[in-house]
């Protein structure tokens, strides 16, 4: 059994203590009335370009990403690098679509995508569908962040049996829940700054030190089995690995900013300009993610999978242990403490934002719409605070009692589900041509077809679509959102013709979408 690494553990605990203090102190940062939902849940929409950069960066490039992408490179090779084109093509969407959404949301006090759709299309059932999709897609995502903490805690040598083994996770969760409750979005925003500095220090130290230790990049890539270095060239009559690589990147990019936590991060910016500037600055994180993907190859070259001291870790966490093992193998204990703290804290930032985003959705688009139509400001923010606790508790229970594999599979389905909100949210920003019931039906068809396709391929992201003797393996989210769109376009004129009651009012005006 691995022994406890006391030096690394001390550094880890020290940094964790620092951010705990910071999380609570954040309540007083750019002070606002936390009894207002937009203050608690959006930080008062006051974050400038730099804070938004840290916040969205910490939100989108999560701890789990930093563990899972290199783990995929370690296990499957070149395919893992789809994360790079993915995080390149998200930014044109961020640049073009989201400043408009920001403007209209601020103008009307919208806090969630459900709020926007409700105002734009005047259909509370469509808004409910958007909100439920967001909440359900977010839950397994939070659970996966806790997996990130589990892996680094395990790598620090803390192990046990039964509930004792989960104690560190429960403590981390308690800290997270408490500061999110008391400080709202200000907590992850301030912690993100510390966490991102730690992550950058780790990534750049590793990208310089480890290749030197291993004798250069040439040697590292020579150690990787050749079939893992490139995508498999497609055979005749199929787009093969090329098709799935490109559609995975594109589909993931389209889905990303539809996730409630991404939107919460964007809406908390202080202006549309801050968002546009960030579209040019956030690729800094993409670059780091690419470097981190290479860590999977470093781990192969360092041979950590065959070292007896890491056997237990690999047995417990699988390929997700590759990066922690590589860091333990390559760095002195104190630096390992910093790196692991970066990953552990890196899990808390998105987990906090995700729980806030889910709470906002529940409060605005379910509770307010269907249970209490006229809450006071205080009731509304109190409601959101409690829901954020429940959401996190759900994620914690899930990760302790349910195999990690289920969380991963649910997260995969979550991506396919959340993209079905694209016509209502992203296209809704540009046009109100769509019929609201057509949007709802397209959404339902996309969810149903996406789930069926994913189940048919044993919960893998790519489905081999067969058309006229050719096979097009591709990301299910892309295929099903196309189906969704076609249905919406076909059904819109039909439903408009059938509409007996008057067309619901669009609360938004064309000018609301601009600064």
């Amino acid at each position: 059994m691995q022994e406890i690494n006391w030096i690394a553990l001390s550094v880890f605990v020290l940094l964790f203590g620092l951010i705990t203090w910071l999380g609570f102190a954040a309540a007083n940062w750019r002070k606002g009335d936390l009894d207002l939902l937009h203050e608690w849940g959006l930080g008062g929409r006051r974050f400038g370009t730099v804070v938004t950069w840290f916040l969205v960066g910490g939100d989108v490039y999560t701890a789990y990403t930093f563990i899972a992408v290199p783990a995929l490179a370690f296990g499957a090779g070149a395919v893992a690098f789809f994360a790079v084109p993915y995080t390149i093509v998200i930014y044109p969407f961020l640049f073009l679509v989201f400043p408009r959404l920001w403007n209209v949301c601020r103008k009307h006090g919208y806090i969630t995508s459900g709020d926007f759709v409700r105002g734009r299309f005047g259909n509370r059932w469509l808004a409910l569908a958007i909100a439920l999709t967001g909440i359900i897609a977010t839950m397994p995502y939070i659970a996966l962040q806790l997996v990130g903490i589990q892996v680094v805690v395990g790598a620090l040598g803390i192990s046990g049996t039964g509930l004792g083994a989960d104690l560190p996770l429960v403590i981390a969760f308690g800290v997270l829940a408490a500061f999110t409750y008391s400080s709202g979005l200000r907590a992850p925003a301030s912690i993100a700054i510390v966490k991102d500095i730690l992550i950058y220090v780790t990534a750049f130290a590793a990208i310089i030190v480890i290749p030197i230790e291993l004798g250069g990049f040439g040697k590292i890539f020579a150690a990787v089995p050749p079939e893992k270095l490139l995508l498999a060239v497609p055979g005749p009559n199929t787009t093969g690995a090329y098709g799935s690589y490109a559609t995975l990147a594109l589909g993931s990019a389209l889905a990303l900013f539809l996730y409630p936590h991404s939107l919460t991060g964007i809406l908390s910016a202080s202006s549309g300009h801050a968002i546009r500037r960030n579209a040019a600055m956030l690729p800094g994180y993409s670059f780091m993610l690419g470097l981190l993907a290479l860590f999977g190859f470093f781990a192969i070259a360092a041979g950590v999978a065959h070292l007896p001291e890491y056997a237990a870790g690999f047995k417990q966490f699988g390929n997700n242990f590759a990066v922690p093992a590589l860091l333990l193998h390559s760095f002195p204990s104190w630096f390992v403490g910093i790196a692991f703290a970066a990953i552990g804290i890196g899990a808390l930032v998105p987990a906090a934002i995700m729980s806030i985003a889910a709470a906002n959705l529940y409060t605005r688009n379910i509770h307010r719409e269907f249970i209490n139509r006229n809450p006071s400001d205080r009731q509304e923010s109190q409601n959101a605070k409690w829901v954020s606790l429940i959401v996190k508790l759900g994620a914690l229970v899930f990760i302790i009692f349910v195999p990690t594999q289920y969380a991963i599979q649910l997260q995969l389905l979550g991506g396919i589900w959340i993209i079905q909100t694209l016509p209502s949210v992203m296209l809704g920003v540009y046009t109100r041509w769509f019929n609201d019931w057509a949007l709802l039906l397209g959404w339902a068809a996309g969810i149903f077809a996406g789930t069926a396709m994913a189940v048919a391929v044993n919960l893998k992201p790519a489905y081999p679509l067969a058309l006229g003797g050719h096979t097009f393996p591709g990301y299910i989210a892309v295929y099903t959102v196309l189906l969704n769109l076609v249905l919406v376009v076909v059904l819109t004129p039909l439903f408009n013709a059938l509409r007996t009651r008057r067309v619901p009012l669009d609360q938004t005006a064309a000018a609301d979408y601009f600064a």
């Binding site: 070149a78 040697k219 890539f221 995508l231 690995a241 546009r276 579209a279 690729p283």
Partner: protein
């Protein structure tokens, strides 16, 4: 009221730069090869990393060009 493309939400020719980066990174036949290597890194990897930088520069150019 005609103060800039981004503000009025109208089309700007500068947006074509976005299309360039889409094509460059979403068409794997362009870059699925080992050679030419750079510092021992296969083309597949450094090409995509390079495009992270190029796309950020493009976005900055578009931002400056379409700003008011």
């Amino acid at each position: 009221m005609n103060n800039g493309d981004a503000r009025s939400g109208r089309w700007s020719w500068w947006y074509l730069l976005f299309v360039v980066q889409f094509v460059a990174v979403l068409w794997p036949p362009f870059y699925n090869s080992l050679e030419p290597r750079w510092m021992g890194i296969p083309f597949f990897y450094w090409y995509q990393m390079l495009w992270v930088i190029i796309s950020a520069v493009f976005t900055a150019v578009i931002y400056l060009a379409t700003r008011d």
